[in-house]
Symmetry: C2
Subunit: 391 residues, 2 copies
């Protein structure tokens, strides 16, 4: 059943080759002070930093930088950025990077003038901001999270060993995002495929939930087919513009809130993956890859019809003369083949997960209610153990 919903996504996207040419026009909408946020400095090597700074200078902006945003941005770093934004009186936060930098920038935008405890308010009680929000714009250099067109902000609290995402309402969405697929060309393969699986996981988390027959289910099948198709090209030919641009565009669709409208969603794979990241600092998409097969095998009997549909409509499994279970298993088997073809990490040991960490990771794993099976603690441990056996 398509439930009631409110949909609004005001983010303006500039997509394509040389999309940065649109930045100057956008900057006219904001005041003089631009807080430039980026990560570990790869944008200085590939020239994107210089390009962006040159536009900011030509537009007469005063720039202050917050750099060193880590792949799993920490709460301490968030507070540092919030202080900088407030003291600088930033009119715009310009995030240049991937999902981590965008997520972080949105966190800073609502933390700068927050008078409550930021962690508790946003990342424990999941409240909406009631303070001034600094507008955020994004120049995307990495693909996967969809953070460029949603209110998501995932932050890691290292003290509490918690990696938590808040999905804010549209007032926190980036005002604009610049998506040039060529900006992703220099990304190492590990990051590229990790992003690709992140996209796949976003779609699956929204697909494997409910007994619905919603438009979104059909659309998500299309998105997965497109992603599988393009990723197979990109992994052997990373400079293929058509493949990389479609992957970039699929990533945005996968998590711009649209496909979730009116339906239940799961997000347990993200909870498991985030718990692993909180303890190992492993790359986000790889943690999702490492838990997905054991997780989906475990919940398959509870949503068999959808898994059968997934096998047929996404993986072209021939259903003739087979039981639903056999069809469903063949679908997951095709998915495993694709994952190995891309070179994804299937075994959590490769991400630094050790047997003695399992109890603590289970402690950090939030248990969601929207999927086909509400996990017990024993099942969480079993999924992690299964992942550590994968070859």
């Amino acid at each position: 059943m398509l439930g009631n919903f409110v949909y609004c996504n005001p983010t303006k996207l500039y997509f394509g080759k040389k999309a940065l040419n649109s930045l100057a026009g956008e900057l006219e909408n904001y005041g003089k002070n631009v807080l430039l946020v980026y990560g570990g400095g790869s944008i200085k090597k590939n020239g994107i930093y210089d390009d962006v700074l040159s536009v900011l200078e030509k537009c007469g902006k005063t720039v202050r930088e917050v750099s060193g945003v880590m792949p799993n941005p920490t709460y301490a770093k968030l507070l540092e950025g919030a202080k900088a934004a407030r003291e600088f009186n930033a009119d715009l936060i310009l995030a240049v990077g991937g999902g981590s930098v965008c997520d972080y920038s949105k966190g800073v935008s609502v933390a700068a003038y927050c008078e409550d405890d930021v962690w508790e308010k946003y990342y424990e009680r999941f409240e909406e901001p009631d303070c001034k929000i600094i507008p955020v714009g994004c120049v995307l250099t990495m693909v996967g999270t969809g953070s460029e067109m949603n209110g998501g902000s995932v932050i890691t609290n290292t003290e509490k060993k918690m990696k938590v995402g808040h999905v804010f309402g549209e007032s926190v969405f980036p005002r604009f995002a610049i998506l040039d697929p060529e900006y992703t060309f220099t990304l190492p393969k590990y990051q590229m495929i990790s992003g690709i699986f992140d996209i796949m996981s976003h779609i699956m988390e929204q697909y494997f939930s409910g007994t619905d027959d919603n438009t979104s289910d059909y659309v998500m099948e299309g998105l997965m087919r497109s992603l599988i198709h393009s990723s197979r090209i990109a992994v052997v030919d990373p400079l293929n513009y058509e493949a990389r641009s479609n992957i970039m565009w699929t990533a945005t669709w996968a998590l711009n809130t649209l496909v979730a409208m009116g339906k239940d969603t799961d997000w347990e794979v993200h909870m498991l993956g985030q718990a692993i990241s909180a303890h190992t600092d492993a790359t986000h998409g790889m943690t999702l890859a490492a838990v997905s097969l054991p997780y989906y095998k475990l919940i398959m009997p509870y949503g068999l019809e959808k898994f059968k549909r997934f096998a047929v409509n996404v993986w072209n499994v021939d259903p003739n003369g087979k039981t639903y279970e056999k069809i469903a298993l063949e679908g997951l088997s095709e998915m495993k083949k694709w994952m190995k073809e891309l070179g994804l990490v299937l075994n959590a040991k490769e991400l630094g997960l050790k047997p003695e960490m399992l109890e603590a990771v289970a402690d950090s794993t939030l248990v969601m209610q929207g999927g086909y099976k509400v996990l017990t603690r024993a099942e969480i441990i079993k999924i992690l153990e299964e992942s550590m056996k994968y070859e």
Copy 2:
């Protein structure tokens, strides 16, 4: 190839049962004067008029009405509405109806303060407004056009025998739209299936263009599969909420500009259909149905690969051991079966088209450049003649 694009769609949607409950909150964003626009009075019979008026009164709004907006809104009626809006100093135009009423209201919103010749500026030169635009909100009672979430405004100039659509930029998009699937329950079957084919046609017009392998092509296959599935339920069980709500939501996706991003589009079927409407005043979706099969058969050889893909991915045609042509033809044949199952008009004679009108209809048909074949005048005539032979 995914071309460069700018995407922005700020319309806020309230979707689901009793969605009208959200109207009062939205009205707070606008001034006192609300121009209430509706069609032939069916909303007075089904109670929607009373419901809306009661909200407007509770919110203390001053209401002026423009009623009698026809299924193919005329330019003369547009000027009447523009004058009313200007004289009333309307703060908001509230469209209550289907695509015609929404299209008309958007036209009024940009015509009210336009100092140029409205027809020439917007419907011949396709310019963007440079005058004050009155905000538009929609309460949708009929499904198909997607007008609730785009800048489209189709207006008929009866003097010039032209039915022309301008797709305005986001400043003209409705600010909000209220979509209650139950509001479509009382619609006569003829209107329902006409709207369903309008949706199908919107998707096909964007699908059958280019040699691309874009994400949008995959997504559109999902949208078509969903629509075919739900329409088969709705035509025998019009009160099926799941089917009707998914049809409503598919309609919005089909034409909220998203699936067209970065790809060529056609729209020749709409040009043919609109030309027939301009001469017969026939229902929009039915005119599209009547020309689609002859049109697609004619252009099929020029886009054979896409027609083969359409047959396999949308209509589940088994491709084994068949030529591309055979597969493609079987796809169109499945589509014809579905159209007959719904009860759509396949023969333009049923819409009032007469042999002696063909030359004039051809004169009114705009020839588009984005499809697989740029039509000659002889081909336009042939399509119309073929339609008049269908059974």
